[in-house]
Subunit: 190 residues, 2 copies
């Protein structure tokens, strides 16, 4: 069974017929490495489910430097949720870190789907609840941990990310330079 | 109409009879100033809607200092969402900043309510979506703004909070000392 169907069935009760009707509201997209799904100033028209590959959410800071704040690999959702909810211009970019396949759920499709299949409200409630829980944990780390501690925590919680994300993006996400990341890593193995 | 009923009707379609049945799943609680609703290590049994007053979510850092990461005033929800979702020990505290009245929705009541009134899934989906959107914005600020810039941003977005929250808690939330907060404020008026 394809990943999204599996994922939905993990969280809610839904029969095969309904599930296949739900899937009709999604569009598959193929992304090349470094292809942008969203750029700042455009409206985030869809919520994206990653079937294969890895995406990141970032913004460009005052110094013109890209700052990654979120990654999404298989079975994760990603969007600029302020832009998506209000259908107003985005303040973030979304880009493929590697060659990726996603399922896009456009905002208008979502609204129609939720009217026809209200049981999907529960699925998305649980997705947002988990993201909300993860953010509380994340904000706590930003307040209380040093860069090095954040690296070790991320390594423990998400070893599958650390393996596949380019060093310079991981360093940006953790809030320090790639040189500092090499330093931490070499310390670990010395 | 009481605040929670108003709030629910703002987001979903629900008739008076259903609404009053939904309200039966909540328990009202009166909190004294500085009373704890949740302490670290206990299970966060409920999700809390603030009817009157102000609550805060905080943790105690390595140095034994309380670090506030979230405030909730009237019409906001607050919980340790990892603890609430998994019904496992909390890593945060929740405390009343001032004398407060909240409506508690215990986890088991929530599950029963959502079975009987599945339209409430939508309401909570929208609450978590908004919290999720706010967290993306918040994490961005933590990466890109100085303490002083965060103060000004918070002041613009949430003037009603800045008026009523004690200085030392606001400073903790913004990630600096009360002395630095006084400095920023006096700069503004000089």
């Amino acid at each position: 069974m394809p990943p999204l169907q599996q994922h939905i069935k993990k969280y809610i009760s839904i029969n095969e017929e309904e599930l296949s009707a739900v899937l009709n509201f999604f569009h598959p997209l193929q992304l090349k490495k470094k292809q942008n799904l969203l750029t700042e100033g455009k409206i985030c028209r869809a919520n994206y489910f990653v079937m294969k590959g890895c995406l990141r959410l970032f913004f460009i800071n005052d110094k013109g430097v890209e700052q990654t704040i979120q990654f999404a690999i298989e079975n994760w959702w990603i969007a600029d949720y302020t832009s998506f909810e209000k259908q107003e211009p985005a303040t973030f970019y979304i880009q493929a870190v590697e060659k990726s396949e996603v399922l896009a759920l456009p905002f208008i499709n979502q609204e129609e789907m939720l009217q026809k299949f209200p049981q999907m409200e529960r699925y998305f409630r649980l997705m947002h609840l988990r993201a909300n829980a993860a953010s509380q944990f994340r904000i706590r780390s930003l307040y209380s941990l040093s860069g090095e501690e954040r690296y070790h925590q991320f390594n423990e919680r998400y070893p599958e990310f650390v393996q596949r994300i380019p060093q310079y993006l991981l360093a940006s996400f953790l809030g320090f330079t790639p040189e500092y990341l090499s330093e931490i890593r070499s310390k670990k193995f010395s």
